[in-house]
C-alpha cells in the first residue's frame, strides 16, 4: 500500500517537471499487497454498488489511468497559468497598447478584457479530448483481459 502511495505522488511531481506526453508506468502485479482484499469491500456511502477491481492487474490498470489523468490535468493547468502570465506580461511590456485606442478604449484594456477567455476554452477543449482518449485506452486494455 505504501509503495502505491509513493508512486501516485511521484506522478504528480513528474508531471510538473516533465511535460512530455504521458508515459504510463506499468509495474508487475505483486501478490499480497492487499489491493484485492481492500477492493473487494463494499464502498461505504449511500447504497451504490462499487465497480471494484477483481484482480491486481485491474488495480494496476486503474492506478495507471489515475496517474495519466492527473498528469494531464496538471500539465493543462500549468500550461493555462503560464500562457495567461505570458499574455499579461506581453500587454504590460508594450506601453504603446495603452495609447492605441479602439472605439475609445485602450487596446491594452480590451486585450485583457477579452483575451484570456479563448485561451481557457481552448485548454478546456484539449483536455476534454485527451481525457476521453485516456479512458478509451483504459477500456481497450481492460477488454483484452
Amino acid at each position: 500500500m505504501t509503495a502505491d502511495d509513493v508512486s501516485v505522488t511521484d506522478a504528480a511531481t513528474d508531471a510538473v517537471t516533465d511535460a512530455a506526453p504521458a508515459r504510463v508506468r506499468v509495474t508487475a502485479p505483486r501478490p499480497g499487497t492487499g489491493t484485492a482484499a481492500a477492493s473487494a469491500r463494499p464502498v461505504p456511502g449511500r447504497g451504490l454498488a462499487a465497480p471494484a477491481p477483481t484482480s491486481d492487474v485491474a488495480g494496476v490498470y486503474v492506478r495507471s489511468l489515475i496517474r495519466s489523468q492527473l498528469r494531464l490535468a496538471i500539465v493543462m493547468a500549468v500550461g493555462f497559468a503560464a500562457a495567461t502570465a505570458l499574455f499579461v506580461l506581453a500587454i504590460a511590456l508594450v506601453p504603446a497598447l495603452d495609447s492605441t485606442f479602439v472605439f475609445g478604449v485602450p487596446l491594452s484594456w480590451l486585450l485583457l478584457g477579452v483575451g484570456v477567455y479563448p485561451l481557457a476554452i481552448t485548454v478546456g477543449g484539449l483536455y476534454l479530448r485527451a481525457a476521453t482518449r485516456n479512458e478509451a485506452r483504459y477500456r481497450s486494455l481492460t477488454e483484452q483481459e
Binding site: A38, P42, P53, L97, V114, I121, V123, G124, R139, T142
Partner: protein, 492 residues
Amino acid sequence: MNAAIGYTAIAAVALASALIGFYGLRFSRTTSDFYVASRTVRPWWNASAIGGEYLSAASFLGIAGLILLTGSSALWFPIGYTAGYLMLLLFVAAPLRRSGAYTIPDFTEARLESPWARRVTSLLVIVIGWFYIVPQLQGAALTVRITTGLPSWAGSLAVAVIVSVIVAAGGMRSITFVQAFQFWLKLTALAVPAVALLLVIGGGSTAELSPADAFPPAAGPGDLEVYRTVSLMVALLLGTLGLPHVLVRFYTNPDGGAARRTTVIVLVLLSVFYLFPTAFGFIGRAFAPDLAATGEADALILLLPDRLIPGVAGDLLTALVIAGAFAAFLSTSSGLVVSLAGVISQDLLGGSVRGFRIAAIASSFVPLVVALATESTGLAGSVGLVFAFTASTLCPMLILGIWWRGLTARGAIAGMATGAVLSGAAILGGAAISAALPGIRPFLEQPAAWTVPLAVLVTVVVSRADRRGTPRGTDAFLTRLHVPEARVRRGG
C-alpha cells in the same frame, strides 16, 4: 428613475420564476428527484443551469461597478470566475459525478469513512453558503433602493422570501429549469442594453471624459499589482471547485463524460456573458465617472441605459436590466439554498422531504439577518472573499481526496480547520491587524495565495503522520471515481 419600471420588472421576474418553479413541481415526487433532478438533465440544459446559478450579483452588477471604480485590475474577476470552471473541469468534474454522492459532505464521508470529517465539511458548506447569499441580498437591497425608492431592507426580504418559497415547494428538479431560464434572461438583460448603448455611442454621444482621462495607464493592465492579482486568481480558480451550489449541479449529469462536456459548455457560456459587464464597465468609465465618486458604482449597470438613452426605449432597457439583476439574485440564492437545505436536512433532519423544506426556509433567513445587519462593501469584493475561504477549506480536501490515495480523515479535518482559521482570521480581522501593520495589508486582503498552500501542507503532513492509515475502501472508491462508466462491470 421611474419607480413603476422597477416594480414591474421585479414583479415579472419573481412571477416567472415562481411559475416555472411550480410547473416543475409535478415532476419532483421522490427524495432523489428533489436532490439531483433524477440525473436526467442534458448537457446544454445543465450548462445553462450552472451558468444561471453561478452568475450572481457580483457578476451582474459587481464587475462593471469595480471596473468603474478601480480600473483594469477588476478585469481579473470575470477571468477568474470563468477559469475556475477550467480548474473544475481538470480536477473535479468527472470524478465527482462518478462518486455518486449527493452533496460535498456525502463525498467526504464516502471517501474518508469518517462521520467527523463529514460534520466538519457540512459546517463549512453551511458557512460558505450563508456568506455567499449575503452579497446577493445586499445586491437586491441596492437594486430595489435605486429603482423603486423603497428602503433597502425591502429588497433583501423580498428575495429571501421568494427563494425559500420556490425551493421549499419545488425542489431541485424545478430549479434546474428555473436556473436555465435565468441564465438566458441574464444574458439577454445585459446583451441587449449593451448593444443599444454601443449603437447610441457610435451615433455620436459625447463622453464626459476623454479616452485618455477615462482609461489612464495608471489604472491599466501595465500597472499590475503582482501579489494581489496572483492571490485573487488562486482564490477564484480554486474557490470555484468548492462552491456547494456549483458542485451539486454536477450530480445532474448522466455520467462523468457528460459532466466534462457540460463544464466545457459552461466555459463558453460564461466567456460570452462576461463580455457584457466588461463593456458596461468600459462605457461607465467614459460616460458616468461621477458614480464612482458617489459610492454607487455597483448601480452602474442599472443607471447607464436611462442616462444615455432617453424616452421609452431607455425605460424598457432599464426594466430589462432590473429584471436581469433580480434574476441574478434569485438564481444564485436559490441554488445556494437548495444545496444548503440538502446538507442541513440530511445531517440534522434525517433526509426527509419535509426536513428539506424546513431547512430551505432556515437557510434563507440566517443570511437575511446578516445582510440586514451589515453594509455592503462592494459586491465583487465580498464574493471574492468567500471564494478565498472556499479555496482554503473545501478545495484541498476535494482535490487531494480525488487524486491522492494517502488522504486520511484526520489530515482532511486538520487541513480544513487550518484553512478556515487562517483565511477566516485574515478576512474578518484583516482591517484591524493591517491598521497596526500596514506592510502586510495585501496579504490579509487577498489571503488565498498563502492560506491555500498552508492548508494543503497541513493536510498532507497530518495524513502522513496518521497512524491509522488510509481508509480501507480507498482503492475501491478511487477506482469508482476514475474508471469510465459504460463498460465498468467488465473492467478486469
